[in-house]
C-alpha cells in the first residue's frame, strides 16, 4: 500500500510544480519573470488588479466563455444527431462517411487559414454581423470542426445502448424523434458531458484561427489576449499573464468538477465494447 502513495505523491508533484510556479508568479508583487521563484516570497494581488484595470481582460474572458459555451453546445447537439444516424440506421455512404469524418480532421487546418481568411473577407463585406471580430463568425468557424472525433466518441457510446429499447418503443408507435430525444439522449449523458468538456477546452485553447480572426482589443479571446500580453514584453508582463492563466483555468476546472462522475466512464465506454 505504501508504494502506491509514494507513486501518487511523485505524480502529484510532477503535475503541480508548473502550476505552483504560475501561482507564485501571479502573486509576485514585482510581476516579472526573472524575479519569480517556485515558492512565493511576497504576496500581493497587484497583478490581478493590473490585469483588470489596464487590459481588456474582462472582455476577453466574457468573449471566450460565450464562444466556448456556444461552440460546445453546438458540438454536443450536432454530433449527437449525427451519431444517432450512424449508430441506428444503415444507409449508403455510412461507412465512407464515418471514415471521411475521421480523415478530414487530419488535414493540417492552419493551411486552410489563407482560404478561410479570403472567405471571411467576403463574408465580412456581405454580412458584417458574422464577419471578422464577431462572436458569431468565430463560433460558426468552430462549428465546422464539431463533427469529426466527437461523432466517433458518441457513436461508440450509442452502440452500447441496446437496440431493443428503440425497437420496443417503435412497436409502441414512437417516432424517431421521440426515440432520439426521449429514450437515447437521457441514456448518453456521460458521453454528452465528455464531448461538451472536450469542445469547451479545445475552444478556450484555440489560438491560430482566433488570432487572425479577432484583431480588435475588445473582441479578443483569452488565448489571443494573453498571448499578446507577453508577446514582446515577456519578462515584465509575466505576473499579469500568470494571473490571467489562473483565472482562465477556473471555468474549465469548475466544469471538470461538475462533470467528473461522467468523464471516466464516458471517455472509455464507447471504445471498450469492441
Amino acid at each position: 500500500m505504501g508504494w502506491r502513495h509514494l507513486v501518487a505523491l511523485i505524480a502529484v508533484a510532477f503535475s503541480l510544480f508548473p502550476i505552483l510556479f504560475v501561482v507564485s508568479a501571479a502573486l509576485n508583487p514585482l510581476g516579472t519573470l526573472s524575479s519569480t521563484s517556485i515558492i512565493p516570497t511576497n504576496f500581493s494581488f497587484a497583478n490581478f488588479a493590473n490585469l483588470f484595470n489596464n487590459t481588456r481582460f474582462l472582455n476577453w474572458f466574457v468573449n471566450s466563455i460565450i464562444i466556448a459555451l456556444v461552440s460546445a453546445a453546438a458540438a454536443m447537439f450536432t454530433s449527437a444527431l449525427a451519431a444517432y444516424a450512424f449508430s441506428r440506421y444503415r444507409f449508403k455512404g455510412r461507412r465512407g462517411g464515418l471514415m471521411f469524418l475521421l480523415l478530414v480532421q487530419m488535414f493540417p487546418q492552419f493551411l486552410a487559414m489563407v482560404t478561410i481568411y479570403i472567405m471571411f473577407t467576403r463574408i465580412s463585406d456581405l454580412w458584417p454581423q458574422i464577419g471578422f471580430n464577431t462572436w458569431w463568425g468565430l463560433t460558426l468557424l468552430y462549428m465546422g470542426g464539431a463533427l469529426g472525433v466527437n461523432t466517433w466518441l458518441m457513436k461508440g457510446f450509442f452502440d452500447t445502448i441496446p437496440k431493443d429499447l428503440d425497437e420496443s418503443a417503435k412497436v409502441d408507435g414512437a417516432t424517431h424523434t421521440q426515440i432520439f430525444f426521449g429514450i437515447i439522449l437521457p441514456l448518453v449523458t456521460p458521453i454528452l458531458a465528455v464531448v461538451g468538456l472536450l469542445s469547451f477546452i479545445g475552444t478556450i485553447n484555440e489560438f491560430l484561427m482566433a488570432n487572425i480572426f479577432l484583431t480588435q482589443a475588445e473582441t479578443k479571446t483569452l488565448a489571443v489576449g494573453l498571448y499578446g500580453l507577453i508577446y514582446g514584453e515577456r519578462n515584465n508582463n509575466f505576473g499579469m499573464f500568470a494571473a490571467g492563466t489562473l483565472i482562465t483555468a477556473i471555468p474549465t476546472v469548475a466544469l471538470f468538477f461538475a462533470l467528473q462522475r461522467y468523464i471516466v466512464g464516458g471517455l472509455t465506454a464507447g471504445a471498450v465494447k469492441g
Binding site: A8, A11, I19, L111, T115, F132, T175, G274
Partner: protein, 531 residues
C-alpha cells in the same frame, strides 16, 4: 456488437408512410418542425438580401439550392438519416471541406508572394512600380481610405488637386470623381461616403501596402510620397504584347515572359520579383523530393516527427497507465484528491502553460535549471530542445491518458484477471496476457487519434521552441521542427510566402497521417465493427 441481433432499420416507421411530412407527427414534433424550418427560411432571407444588393447571383443560387435541399430533407417522411446528418454536415462542408479543397488545389500552383494575381495584374503592378516622378508633373494632397474596415479593406487614394480644387477617387482601376467627399482647409478629405479614412496609426500599419499602391492613369500612374502627398509620374517599364515581354525605357532592359513559371526573365536569368499565378502541375511535389536542400530537411524532419509522435503517445500512455494502476485500488486513502491533483494539468489552459514551460526552460533564470542545479542550454542545444518539448508534452498529455486508462481498467472484468492468476500464472503474467491486451483494444482508437493529433501538434512547437534551435546553414528548418511547423514557415515565413509549396507539403503530411491511421484502424478491427 454483442447484444443486438435486430435487423438494421432502413424504412421509416409506418405511421408516417405515404404522408408528406406533417401528418403522423405528434403536435409537439409538428410545432418543432415548423419553428425549425421557419428559422431556416428566416436565416436564408437574411443571407439573401446582401447577395441581391450586390448582385452575387451565383452565391444566391447556391443559397437557394441549399435551403431547398434542407426543406426537402425535412419534409419527406422516408429517409431519416439525412435529417440527423444535415445540421453538422452543412458547417463541415462550408468551413472545413471547402477550405481544404481550395488549399489542395493551390498545391498545384505557384501561389505565394509575387505570384498572387493574373498576368495582367502582374503587368499593371510592374508598370505601376516603375513610375517615376517627372519635374513639374501634377501633385495632389493625399488622403488614404479603405473600402470597409480600415485594417483589411481595399485601399483607395482620395486626391485633392490644389489647382482645380477638385477631389478625385483613385483605386487600382483608375480615377473617378469622388462623389460626396468633404474637404478640410488643408485639402485633406474629412469624410467620404462608403469609405473609411485611415488615421495616421492605421496608415502607418499598412505603409508597405500604401507605398506599393498605384492608381493607373493614361500615361503613367499616381503614387504616394509619404502619407499625405501623391504625384502623377511616368512609367519607365512597359509591356509589349508583340514580344510578350517587359521593356525598361530608362535602362534598355528586357524581360521575357516565362508562361510556365509565371515570371518575367531577362536573358541573363534575372527575374522580376512580381510574377503571376500559374499551374505548375506536380512541380511543388517534385521540388520537395528533387531539390537537394529541401529533400534533406524534409527527411530529417520526417524522422523526428515520427519519433516525437510515438514518444509522446507511448510515453504519456505508459505514465498514465502506471498511475492508473497504482491508484486502481479501492482502499487507498485520499484517492479522490490524488485523482483531482494529477488531472489538474489537463484543466489548465494549454496555450498558456506551453508559454510558461518555455520560460521554465530558460537557461539563465528558468525554474528547471534553478531547481536541478543544471546549466543546460535547453533552447539552444538540439538534443536538449528535443527532450524539452517531449517533457512538456508528457506533462500536458499524461493526465488524459490517466483518465482513459482508469476508465479502461475499471471496465475490465476482475474475474478474468483473477482467473489468470489462479491458473498458476504470476501477477505480471496475468497483466501481460489479460490486462494489457484488453487495455489496448479498449484504448486503441484514442491512441490512434492521439498519434494523429501529436503528429500535427503545431502548438507544442510554435509556442515553445518555435522550431529552433536552427543550425547556421539552414535558417528554415530547426532541430525541433515538425512537418507542420516547417510548412507553416514555408507558407507564412519571413523569406516570403510560398503557399503552393506549403500546400504540397501539407498534402504529404496528410497522406502520411491518414495512411497510418487507416492501417492502424484496420488492424484494431475497428473498421470491421462499424459495419
Amino acid at each position: 456488437m454483442q447484444s443486438t441481433t435486430t435487423k438494421p432499420t432502413r424504412e421509416a416507421p409506418p405511421a408516417a408512410k405515404g404522408s408528406w411530412g406533417f401528418s403522423g407527427s405528434t403536435p409537439l414534433a409538428l410545432v418543432g418542425k415548423i419553428v425549425g424550418l421557419g428559422m431556416v427560411a428566416a436565416i436564408a432571407v437574411w443571407l439573401a438580401i446582401p447577395l441581391i444588393d450586390q448582385g452575387q447571383w451565383l452565391m444566391l443560387a447556391l443559397l437557394l439550392a441549399t435551403t431547398a435541399v434542407i426543406f426537402l430533407i425535412y419534409l419527406q417522411p422516408r429517409r431519416i438519416p439525412p435529417k440527423y446528418l444535415v445540421p453538422g454536415t452543412i458547417f463541415l462542408i462550408i468551413f472545413q471541406v471547402l477550405p481544404v479543397l481550395f488549399t489542395v488545389s493551390t498545391a498545384f500552383t505557384n501561389f505565394g508572394d509575387g505570384h498572387r494575381g493574373s498576368k495582367q495584374d502582374a503587368i499593371t503592378a510592374i508598370e505601376g512600380a516603375s513610375v517615376q516622378q517627372v519635374p513639374g508633373g501634377p501633385q495632389y494632397v493625399l488622403t488614404i481610405a479603405a473600402k470597409g474596415a480600415d485594417t483589411t479593406g481595399d485601399l483607395a487614394f482620395l486626391l485633392y488637386d490644389p489647382n482645380t480644387k477638385q477631389v478625385q477617387l483613385g483605386t487600382d482601376k483608375g480615377l473617378e470623381p469622388a462623389v460626396g467627399a468633404q474637404v478640410g482647409a488643408t485639402g485633406k478629405v474629412t469624410a467620404m461616403p462608403g469609405y473609411t479614412l485611415l488615421n495616421a496609426g492605421a496608415a502607418s500599419a499598412r505603409s508597405a501596402e500604401i507605398s506599393a499602391f498605384s492608381v493607373p492613369t493614361a500615361n503613367g500612374a499616381i503614387r504616394s510620397s509619404g502619407l499625405s502627398r501623391a504625384y502623377e509620374g511616368k512609367k519607365t517599364r512597359a509591356y509589349d504584347a508583340g514580344c510578350d515581354c517587359i521593356t525598361d525605357a530608362a535602362t534598355g532592359g528586357k524581360w521575357t515572359a516565362d508562361n510556365s513559371q509565371g515570371t518575367f526573365v531577362a536573358a541573363n536569368g534575372d527575374r522580376l520579383s512580381q510574377g503571376w499565378q500559374v499551374n505548375v502541375g506536380f512541380g511543388n511535389f517534385a521540388r520537395v523530393f528533387g531539390d537537394q536542400t529541401l529533400r534533406t530537411y524534409f527527411l530529417g524532419i520526417l524522422v523526428w516527427n515520427f519519433a516525437f509522435a510515438f514518444l509522446v503517445v507511448f510515453g504519456t500512455f505508459a505514465l498514465g497507465l502506471a498511475m492508473a494502476m497504482a491508484l486502481n485500488h479501492p482502499r487507498i486513502k485520499g484517492l479522490k484528491l490524488y485523482r483531482v491533483l494529477i488531472v489538474l494539468p489537463y484543466a489548465m489552459p494549454a496555450f498558456a502553460m506551453l508559454l510558461v514551460w518555455r520560460d521554465m526552460f530558460n537557461q539563465d533564470f528558468g525554474l528547471i535549471n534553478t531547481l536541478t542545479g543544471l546549466d543546460v542550454n535547453w533552447m539552444g542545444d538540439p538534443w536538449a530542445a528535443k527532450l524539452a518539448v517531449i517533457i512538456i508534452q508528457f506533462w500536458l498529455g499524461y493526465p488524459y491518458m490517466f483518465l482513459v486508462c482508469t476508465g479502461a481498467l475499471q471496465s475490465i472484468p476482475t474475474d478474468l484477471v483473477e482467473a489468470a492468476s489462479v491458473d498458476g500464472a504470476g501477477k505480471s503474467y496475468a497483466f501481460r496476457t489479460v490486462t494489457l491486451p484488453l487495455l489496448f483494444v479498449a484504448t486503441a482508437p484514442l491512441l490512434i487519434s492521439s498519434f494523429a493529433f501529436n503528429f500535427n501538434n503545431f502548438n507544442a512547437i510554435a509556442m515553445t521552441t518555435e522550431g529552433g534551435p536552427f543550425p547556421p546553414d539552414s535558417p528554415t528548418a530547426g532541430a525541433t521542427d515538425l512537418l507542420i511547423s516547417y510548412s507553416y514557415r514555408l507558407a507564412f515565413g519571413e523569406s516570403g510566402a510560398q503557399y503552393g509549396l506549403a500546400a504540397a507539403v501539407s498534402i504529404l503530411i496528410f497522406m502520411i497521417v491518414a495512411g497510418i491511421s487507416i492501417v492502424s484502424f484496420r488492424r484494431t478491427a475497428v473498421l470491421e465493427e462499424i459495419n
